[in-house]
């Protein structure tokens, strides 16, 4: 029996408004096991970004709680690396500087830090551009830096919000392959938010399907397909159809 890495326990979120507020999330609950890759998928307005922010400790829940390895989330934590859709790389730092940011907050010596940065650049295939500034990089490159930056501090969990939403389709499918191999190599727990059902079926062990107004869990779907998954497979198409069906209900 593996350990529970992320426990989302009856999380609700209400934003204050004129007529008693808007309910963004209602009693959302699910667990993510150690080493699992779970996608959260749903149409816009289902509160998945709100859920992402609550899990990441960027926003408090109105009620309920999120626990990482048993510890309640009270704010952003180095145990959980966050990757954003819009990258949010520090433009004043080079690729290497971005990756080393988190390590600089820790008490490790310069050599160990430099080695770790090289290791990360190598992992995401950016070892050729360590001294470029983010401005000059393509979207795919930027997100590789974003992933390397989050992984550098060796978090247990990687939390990703539509990380490949701003890159072209070809780069996206390349990044899917890279993410899967990074995941297998590092054995991290990955929580991946997306609105793209194909993407979720390509990546996930399990898919948390959300429904809107108020945001809630519609169903949790096990994806029992061997990797690497081919979009042209019948089983893949069936799985996608099934999840799409849930969303349009």
């Amino acid at each position: 029996m593996s350990e529970t890495r992320v426990a989302v326990d009856d999380v609700s979120k209400t934003y204050d408004g004129e007529d008693g507020g808007v309910r963004a999330l209602a009693d959302v609950g699910f667990d993510v096991e150690d080493g699992e890759l779970v996608c959260i998928v749903g149409p816009s307005g289902c509160g998945k970004t709100t859920l992402f922010r609550i899990i990441g400790g960027l926003e408090p829940a109105t009620s309920g709680e999120v626990r990482l390895s048993g510890e309640p989330v009270t704010g952003p934590s180095p145990d959980l690396g966050i990757v954003f859709q819009e990258y949010h790389l520090f433009p004043w730092r080079t690729v290497r500087g971005n990756v080393s940011f988190g390590l600089e907050q820790q008490a490790i010596d310069d050599d160990a830090r430099a080695r770790r940065v090289e290791e990360m650049l190598d992992l995401v295939g950016l070892d050729e551009f360590p001294d470029s500034y983010p401005k000059g990089l393509s979207g795919g490159m930027k997100q590789r830096v974003g992933i390397a930056r989050a992984l550098a501090v060796d978090p247990e969990i990687l939390l990703m919000d539509e990380p490949f939403g701003s890159v072209d389709a070809q780069t996206r499918s390349m990044l899917h392959g890279e993410l899967l191999s990074i995941w297998q190599e590092t054995e991290k727990t990955v929580l991946f938010v997306t609105h793209d059902v194909d993407e979720a079926v390509t990546l996930a062990d399990r898919i948390v399907v959300m429904a809107p107004s108020p945001g809630r869990v519609q169903e949790i779907v096990d994806v029992d397909l061997d990797r690497p998954r081919e979009r042209t497979d019948e089983a893949f198409a069936e799985q996608v159809e099934y999840v799409r069906g849930l969303i349009s209900e």
Binding site: F90, W92, F101, K135, A150
Partner: protein, 262 residues
């Protein structure tokens, strides 16, 4: 082959463009001097001396050492005034923009004090500090303060929340850490622009600061004005412009270097 051609063309085009600009600039200067020269033919020297006469006075003042002494005297209050005012302005601007508490507390006072021109503080400078370099430095510091305060405030106010989120998720857990690692570097372009503007404005402010009798370039300008020596007035104006040109070019070069990432 074709790439090479393009590169060649690019370089040549760039070179031509620069040369053209330089040539036009030189033409403008010559035209200005010419108009000045011709106008001076029809006016007595105490109204408008010729460019040549101004250049002569400039050289005389330079060789006699008067100009250098005045310049050193001005820098003696300009430099500390600018440094102190800039530092305080940035420190307060960053603090107010970062902390809502500090902002709420200080905003009314900022609103009241902001419209006070540095020159209006001459009374305070004399009463509190005296007719000396420190008094002049005080007025210059007041000028530097507001420029840098607003530049830093605007820069910090514009730092995106997401950068702070990223930094927190990577283990930065104190306000000081966030300011040092994220807020200051993110706001640096605005802060440096403030410093650059402030340096220039404060250099102009020495005229006002020396009004009360502190020695310096401004003082020489007043003395010359009172003696109706327009040639000397123009010579010292020329000195001020030259110093400003050197300062601004220097700071501009530093700015380009530090902000290479933009």
């Amino acid at each position: 082959m074709s790439t090479r051609l393009e590169t060649d063309l690019g370089i040549e085009f760039g070179g031509d463009y620069d040369r053209r600009r330089l040539a036009l600039g030189a033409l403008g200067v010559v035209a200005f001097l010419l108009v000045w020269e011709v106008t001076s033919w029809f006016n007595p020297a105490y109204v408008l001396p010729s460019p040549r006469a101004v250049a002569d006075v400039f050289l005389v003042e330079l060789r006699s050492g008067t100009m250098l002494t005045a310049l050193i005297a001005s820098v003696t209050h300009w430099l500390p005034g600018t440094v102190v005012g800039t530092t305080l302005g940035i420190a307060l601007g960053v603090t107010m923009a970062y902390s809502d508490l500090a902002d709420d507390m200080a905003t009314p006072m900022v609103r009241v004090l902001r419209p006070v021109p540095p020159l209006a503080l001459i009374g305070f400078a004399i009463a509190w500090i005296g007719l000396n370099h420190a008094g002049a430095a005080f007025i210059i510091a007041a000028g530097a303060f507001w420029i840098n305060y607003y530049a830093a405030y605007g820069g910090v106010d514009g730092v995106s929340e997401e950068f702070l989120d990223v930094a927190k998720s990577l283990g930065v857990d104190t306000d000081l850490g966030l300011v040092r690692n994220v807020v200051l570097p993110a706001a640096l372009p605005e802060i440096i622009t403030g410093i650059r503007t402030g340096i220039g404005r404060c250099w102009m402010l020495i005229i006002a600061a020396e009004l009360m009798g502190v020695p310096g370039v401004g003082r020489e300008l007043y003395t010359a004005s009172q003696n109706l020596s327009v040639d000397a007035v123009l010579a010292y104006i020329l000195l001020m412009s030259l110093v400003y040109l050197v300062l601004d070019t220097g700071v501009g070069a530093v700015q380009n270097r530090v902000l290479g990432w933009q």
